[in-house]
Symmetry: C2
């Protein structure tokens, strides 16, 4: 109901809509309308009330609220249910709890900040206000070995969204990062520090896919996605700053976080449906086009293996194939990859 | 402390141990001793108290209590922490919660009965009183694809325990059941019903392995094991009875559930340590010796595939290899297998 009131006000933003009209259109009393309006104000919506004219929506809060994400969201699966938190421990942990309780595919958990954001292998993931910290629950009919595919469609979705919405070059670093070729690098030229288009790739998004599985069956996949949207890089711990950027920093302006979230959910869903319909081949083709890894000299640390060589391909499971100096082909399923200077 | 009091009483079962002696040995007051004794009585221990002579342990409750399982348990890893419930929804669900909170490898969850016991693929698993319903948390350094190995070592551990403790022929049915070649079958011979050693295999144990994993890393494995120990088959739903048996039924007497649990944990741990030390090959060798599947004509349903043929081998991942009538080799990772009459 609150969502419907909001949508009616939103359609005529900054105009007044009478309590009478809302009451008739929604079939509830004017007192009930008033109560919902108070609740919306409590959530941060600025709504003017005038005794004669009614209610007028002045501004929506700068938060990733379900009402805002759902409005005109063009998805069939993703975002059907949205759980929003101002602060949470970890969106992935909460999503896994929901998944284990049997919630349907497409539910998402989004938070303005995470107290205990997680990266791969239990590492810390910094999640200050201004970023998008979101987890998507899916129940794909895949084998446990095929779970990396989920990371790949998420990375593709994020990179495509950045490319479509902004004049930024987003690339995917295998297996689970999205990078931007930073335009604002300071480089040393002829002994002087100059601002210049640099070739430095900086991380703007990380993805952590977790699954619950039996032998041959994936019960659920939770794709955790963290995107640095409107974040001052100084908010990140010192050790991350050098290789990290945000959309705000790259563009030099703040962006509409809700807009980004909607487009991203749509892009990811498109790739997910494509995967279901056509299999992994067309996904892989898209992915290779914007890979920051393929063709590069890299150093990969996977478990207790360290492999240096040229990243030459991705196989149908999403594993990276590296050709070493000795001409041997090595395959890794996941790991830490450092791009080497060519 | 309660465990230590109990162990002192247990060493001199049915004799009296004075409050004075307990107090001195354990360094706590006689009032504190008295309080612990009351608590133990509340848990079902029968302990006589006499003003002059002290306390005497008469009997322990017929429950899988941590004190009882831990006493003389010869394991290094399994059972270090034991969570016991008279009733629980599902031991696997609780164990997964513990695992996600970071509890160490070897913790176990055991319940006298489960309200919502789970089988493979979300199927119902009947868990009446008298059975062993237990989940083991492990953190093996394996790939997600190798998780079936955990089911295999658990099945081996259960089958070996049954074979060592009782004169029963236990076999493993791929992938996750332990069967007993039932001695008490009624067969029709010459038109008359006669009791005779039959060749019917009946299910005595099922295993459900669930894992939490990232791309290339298993965070935890929870092995859920259900063994029909002292259960009247009539307690099972009608549709299960035909193919189900219990140790009690096969032996014609009740067994010591605590003893079974200890020996089973020891057997499973032995196979787990063997796997860590020597890899999967020696496990597979043991497994093949008591397979109820290998060499048999079977029908396997795996996902939407139905394969009929002869089960000829298990590969290094634990997948079953079936040779069809047409001579083609098919491989399945898990599924429902029916043994066909040869």
């Amino acid at each position: 109901m609150r969502e419907r009131i909001l949508n009616l006000l939103y359609q005529r933003k900054k105009e007044y809509v009478s309590g009478e009209e809302l009451s008739q259109k929604l079939g509830i009393s004017r007192t009930a309308i008033w109560k919902h309006i108070q609740a919306l104000k409590g959530e941060g919506y600025k709504i003017n009330s005038q005794k004669r004219s009614g209610y007028s929506l002045i501004s929506v809060p700068d938060l990733l609220l379900p009402y805002e994400i759902k409005r005109d969201l063009k998805t069939k699966i993703l975002g059907k249910k949205i759980y929003h938190f101002k602060e949470i421990g970890s969106t992935n942990d909460f999503a896994i709890k929901l998944a284990r309780k049997g919630i349907g595919e497409g539910a998402i958990v989004v938070a303005e900040t995470q107290a205990k954001g997680k990266g791969r292998l239990g590492r810390e993931w910094s999640s200050p206000f201004g970023g998008l910290w979101i987890s998507i629950i899916l129940r794909p009919e895949i084998l446990p070995t095929q779970a990396p595919r989920m990371t790949i469609i998420a990375a593709l979705g994020v990179a495509k969204t950045i490319r479509k919405l902004y004049p930024l070059d987003a690339f995917i670093k295998w297996p689970n990062d999205v990078l931007i070729r930073s335009k604002v690098g300071t480089i040393r030229a002829n002994g002087r520090m100059r601002k210049k288009r640099s070739r430095v790739f900086k991380k703007v998004c990380g993805i952590l896919t977790e699954m619950g599985a039996e032998q041959d069956t994936v019960n659920y996949v939770v794709i955790g996605i963290g995107v640095n949207l409107n974040i001052d890089i100084k908010k990140f711990p010192m050790e991350f700053r050098k290789n990290t950027t945000s959309i705000e920093k790259e563009l030099g302006r703040k962006i509409d976080s809700v807009e980004f979230t909607k487009r991203m959910l749509e892009e990811i869903e498109n790739f997910y449906l494509l995967l279901k319909k056509r299999g992994f081949a067309p996904i892989l083709k898209e992915w290779k086009k914007i890979s920051a890894t393929l063709g590069k000299r890299i150093k990969a640390v996977s478990g207790n293996r360290i492999i240096e060589g040229k990243a030459i391909d991705i196989d149908s499971h999403g594993a990276l194939i590296i050709k070493t100096k000795e001409g041997k082909k090595e395959k890794i399923l996941a790991g830490d990859v450092t791009l080497m200077r060519n």
